[in-house]
């Protein structure tokens, strides 16, 4: 099936976003807008906070508007009483539901502008094919990635250059919004198969191989906590790992303690992780955290019924409920 994707040049999308932001600020529907802007390099589209309608021209929509703006709402809400407008992709919108379900966000204080998303680009994949220093811009048009490299224009099939997490995305369209910025796109066909592929690959190893595999991954962990800090499901005011009394996690970067951190982090998002994959993407050390999160999702789905977090903020996550006839992963005799 030919999938429906973003059809016209990104400039028009950006224009649309600017227009919505401008109207919302001018009409005083919101006092601030959280979106994305362009920075120094072609691969940088960080989150930006705007309050002045004159600044909305900074906003962009391009293949690198990846970082979720959602978690910033926590700080925003604490420091400011007014309503804020936020642009969210499909994955980001599930973050909104995550915060709502966790009672960490007041829905009426946010105007959610849903942005259907055809997938974001992986700078590493692009760098492997094109000299990074010479790239001027990268644009997604239809199913094609258009690169300005030096003086020439290169057109390549986008799919090969998208982030892995986008290739296995099940909800490219926002699941909660006040306004949909443009028409919905259809999810990728092969998203379901690719969802647990890596988990199954690791599962198929024997115990000692699995341990060696994960040990190699966690060995690189520098304990920067970027995975936690970026995760909208990790929204505790004071994280258990930051507490000194009792100290749940030692500050020394010891292998066992690193394992402790990753086990408990994954446990805390079990049944709550909505698979945005940001933990893995932003991990400076390339630890495949999504594999761990998805293992838990798979386990919960198999044992307690399919559940997808971040779709319905009113339900109870699987670990907050039970059924008498639940199966167990251990000897119940």
């Amino acid at each position: 099936m030919q999938q429906k994707v973003e059809g016209y040049p990104l400039k028009e999308y950006t224009t649309k976003i600017c227009q919505i932001a401008k109207e919302a600020l001018e009409n005083r529907e919101v006092t601030a807008i959280i979106g994305w802007r362009k920075k120094d390099f072609w691969w940088q589209s960080p989150v930006v906070f705007l309050e002045d309608p004159a600044d909305v021209q900074q906003l962009v929509w391009d293949p690198f508007t990846i970082y979720s703006p959602v978690k910033f709402l926590l700080d925003w809400q604490e420091s400011c009483a007014a309503k804020v407008g936020i642009f969210v992709k499909g994955c980001d919108s599930r973050g909104i539901n995550r915060l709502l379900q966790d009672k960490r966000l007041e829905r009426e204080r946010v105007a959610v502008y849903g942005v259907p998303c055809g997938g974001k680009a992986d700078a590493e994949k692009i760098r492997a094919s094109f000299p990074s220093k010479e790239i001027k811009s990268v644009t997604l048009i239809g199913e094609e990635l258009v690169l300005a490299v030096g003086e020439r224009e290169e057109r390549v099939k986008a799919e090969a250059y998208l982030l892995d997490k986008c290739l296995s995305c099940r909800h490219p369209n926002p699941v909660v919004y006040d306004k949909l910025v443009w028409e919905e796109v259809s999810p990728r066909q092969y998203a379901d198969e690719s969802r647990f592929a890596r988990v199954q690959a690791v599962e198929s190893l024997v115990t000692e191989e699995r341990f060696a595999y994960w040990q190699r991954q966690f060995d690189r962990c520098i304990r920067c906590f970027a995975c936690r800090n970026t995760c909208p499901a990790c929204n505790c005011r004071v994280c258990i790992f930051d507490q000194a009394e009792p100290r749940w996690l030692g500050k020394a970067n010891d292998p066992a303690d690193t394992l402790n951190y990753h086990i408990i982090r994954a446990f805390h998002v079990a049944g709550r992780c909505f698979e945005c994959g940001e933990c893995e993407r932003i991990c400076p050390a390339g630890v495949p955290l999504q594999e761990l999160n998805r293992k838990l999702i798979k386990g919960i789905n198999d044992a307690y019924g399919d559940y997808e977090a971040g779709l319905d903020p009113t339900d109870v996550p699987p670990l907050g409920t039970y059924r008498g006839e639940d199966p167990a992963g251990f000897d119940e005799s």
Binding site: P46, K133, R216, V238, P284
Partner: protein, 342 residues
């Protein structure tokens, strides 16, 4: 100047490993880090900066300071005096080599940190000159010549098929003479080739910043609204500090069990909420704003005030790795010389 064919590199490394513990950059799962060399390990020479900067060899992420046992009398075992195994770091990039000088200012100033001093003294640093900076490299702006690394004991230059090696210190001379059997003398042609390579790099930077007046500008900016705008997207992770070759703040922790205990020193990050958390609950840097300000003030104002140098070598790790693209380039540009974006 000596030279060796890159094809014979393994032999050279093997010989070095016989001299001391040898660390080389190597790739695993797409990430390049310094690892202990062993026979058969592929050395990664093309990658610019390894992920975790080599400061960890002098100032490890976690180290034991002392162990104690309480009984009839208190027994203490000091670990600082045991630190400093003989080691060689191979292929350290010049920006990282420059960072050692900065760390020295902190840890070798009187009274020197014993463990750091011992490790520094017992380690021979072989720098690998750069030829092709990437877009996030801006060491040039800090007057670092990426082709040269004056602080290194030995400078290696990649001339294509060969590596040229120049001893720059006594330690370096010693190492080179120990390896002499494997090396051949460079010709004047080789020397010219090295010179050529070294000269080309100056024009290959695409990124630079002007530091003119930055220290002074920042001195007046402690209360500026700028930080209010800047900090908002910081997520408070430790990526920038842990990957920064010049960040050097630590925490001391006690691991006690029964009557025994161990005191450790480990990296800490001023980006973390608990960095300045005090026992009574008070936190003088209550929000991320103060923390972000602290980091950049420290790098560009406090440290230069105390030590005369900026605490940045333009290695670009924070530029590449910050999840939200909040990096020192942005701060220097927006707060610093030449730019009036405030």
């Amino acid at each position: 100047m000596k030279r060796i064919a890159k094809a014979n590199l393994a032999e050279l490394l093997s010989a070095m490993a016989a001299e001391a513990k040898l660390y080389v950059p190597a790739e695993s799962d797409g990430i390049v880090n310094f690892v202990s060399w062993q026979e058969g390990l592929a050395v990664e020479l093309a990658a610019l900066n390894v992920l975790v900067p080599p400061k960890k060899f002098f100032y490890p992420q976690t180290e034991t300071v002392l162990k104690y046992e309480m009984g009839e009398d208190l027994q203490i075992e000091d670990f600082a005096c045991k630190a400093g195994e003989k080691a060689i770091l191979f292929a350290v990039r010049p920006c990282d080599v420059s960072s050692f000088a900065m760390m020295d200012k902190v840890y070798l100033e009187e009274p020197p940190d014993e463990a750091y001093r011992r490790r520094r003294e017992n380690t021979t640093v072989i720098a690998l000159g750069c030829t092709e900076p990437d877009e996030a490299c801006f060491c040039q702006s800090f007057d670092i010549d990426a082709a040269k690394a004056p602080g290194a004991d030995v400078l290696a230059v990649d001339t294509g098929e060969e590596l040229a090696l120049v001893a720059q210190t006594e330690k370096g001379e010693e190492l080179i003479s120990a390896l002499n059997g494997l090396l051949s003398e460079a010709t004047s042609g080789d020397e010219n080739k090295v010179k050529d390579e070294q000269e080309k790099i100056a024009d290959r930077y695409v990124t630079s910043v002007s530091l003119r007046g930055i220290k002074e500008r920042l001195a007046g900016m402690f209360a500026a609204d700028y930080w209010e705008r800047l900090y908002k997207r910081c997520i408070g992770c430790g990526t920038c500090t842990f990957l920064c070759p010049t960040c050097h703040c630590f925490d001391l922790q006690e691991y006690a069990a029964g009557n025994c205990g161990e005191r450790i020193r480990c990296w800490d990050a001023c980006m973390f909420a608990d960095f300045t958390q005090m026992a009574g609950g008070h936190n003088p840097r209550p929000s991320q704003k103060e923390r972000v300000r602290q980091r950049f003030m420290h790098k560009l104002n406090y440290f230069p005030q105390q030590h005369g140098d900026y605490a940045c070598v333009g290695c670009g790790r924070c530029v590449r790795k910050c999840p939200v693209n909040l990096d020192i380039l942005e701060v220097i540009r927006e707060a610093g010389g030449g730019t009036d974006g405030l």
